[in-house]
């Protein structure tokens, strides 16, 4: 029957495709509700009729888990993502990202676009990376924080900010920005998108879709959209 999936908004493109494919195969319907992970988690805790939850970070999945709402043994770290430095326009100069790299000189008094560095996952990862690399203090005052990654990306694509830190998945699909460098994988905590089957899901179809997410064809689609498939 119907599978209701609450998923972080950044997964929309990939999940839409996967769900369509799976529906066509199995005849079950998938209903996808995209919003911020925090809102979804709170809704689930408040009794939302969701069968599956895919969060953009571990903390919100933990919050749901602590309420005892994730089915026993039905939680998995589904996807990973990479953090990249982007610049406005096509064909921007690549930047060598390493400890103490001269980000503040690159900015030249202009802004570095990021998601909220203390609360939105992409921002938190970015801040961690910059701290590890020892450049956070130099640029802290020049960081323009958006409420989500896409908004940060928009700031760069419109040229409002010359540089930004976003997910590789987002950067790949935007014409007007260039990925000028990858952050070293050890400079920030691993980016994980955990998926969990919720206690409210009674149906076999729910479980099937949960499993299918880790399957091969789903993996291919996730990868096509720039995600790292974790297992």
């Amino acid at each position: 029957d119907e599978v209701v999936v609450f998923a972080a908004a950044s997964l929309k493109n990939a999940l839409d495709e996967i769900a369509a494919e799976w529906s066509a195969e199995t005849g079950h319907e998938v209903t996808l509700s995209y919003a911020g992970s925090n809102a979804l988690a709170k809704q689930i805790i408040e009794g939302a009729p969701a069968d599956l939850f895919i969060s953009a970070n571990v903390e919100w999945m933990d919050a749901v888990d602590q309420e005892g709402m994730v089915a026993e043994g039905a939680r998995t770290d589904l996807l990973g993502n990479r953090l990249v430095l982007i610049a406005h326009g096509q064909g921007a100069e690549p930047v060598e990202i390493g400890p103490g790299f001269p980000l503040d000189q690159l900015l030249d008094g202009e802004k570095l676009a990021m998601a909220l560095v203390d609360s939105v996952p992409a921002g938190q990862y970015g801040k961690a990376a910059l701290e590890t690399l020892g450049v956070w203090q130099a640029v802290e005052a020049d960081v323009a924080q958006s409420d989500n990654v896409r908004a940060a990306l928009t700031l760069v694509s419109t040229g409002e900010a010359p540089y930004g830190i976003v997910y590789a998945t987002d950067a790949a699909a935007e014409d007007n920005v260039t990925i000028v460098g990858d952050f070293p994988a050890d400079s920030y905590p691993e980016i994980t998108y955990p998926a969990g089957l919720l206690t409210g899901a009674a149906d076999q179809a729910d479980r099937d879709f949960y499993e299918a997410l880790s399957g091969e064809s789903a993996g291919a689609i996730f990868q096509a959209h720039g995600f790292t498939v974790l297992n």
């Binding site: 997964l11 919003a35 979804l40 809704q43 408040e46 989500n148 896409r150 987002d170 790949a172």
Partner: protein, 232 residues
Amino acid sequence: MTDWLTPAEWQAVRLSVKVSLWAVAASLPLGVLVAYALARWRFPGHGLLNGLVHLPLVLPPVVTGYLLLLTFGRRGTVGQFLDQWFGITFAFRWTGAALAAAIMAFPLMVRAIRLAIEAVDPKLEQAASTLGASRVWVFLTVTLPLILPGILAGMVLAFAKAMGEFGATITFVSNIPGQTQTLPSAIYAFLQVPGGEGAAARLVMIAIVIAMAALFLSEWIARAVARRIGGG
């Protein structure tokens, strides 16, 4: 139209209109009552009521949505009460979207109606009372017809706001296609992923067209009413 909108988008359009219309219709009686109370009565708690009405304007929509979730959600006290005793559920239903839209639009509706009520000449109401009309009848036969333009303005503001409401709705009832996914939620989802701008723009255009239609309709009605009252 159907060929350049996916069924899901088409559903979001219909849902948005339905939610907005219900939000306006269902909150109108209370809106008129509260506006009347604020305009005409002096009672302890006047300021408090006024503050309460304005609250959804002051709070970031997300906060309002969160409070709604806590109050009217499945585990919320009011939500449980309504569910058990009246079988009314708001959580994760289109009714919840309507509730969120109604609450977000309420201050706009109340203020417009209140301004209209304050502009009614009490002398006309007095005249009606000397002719035998009780308070309620005075209201129904004199005040109400005279504030119609204000009510209309309030309704159109509320409708427009309801069409655009996003933060409270998505926080309260999430973004479930066919059930709670309104136009703004759909637009939001598109804006969260690469390449979604085109689709978002299309939906934005639809939202604009619908709201403008409502606006034109209201202006037209208001003008017709004004002509009747002013002219011969």
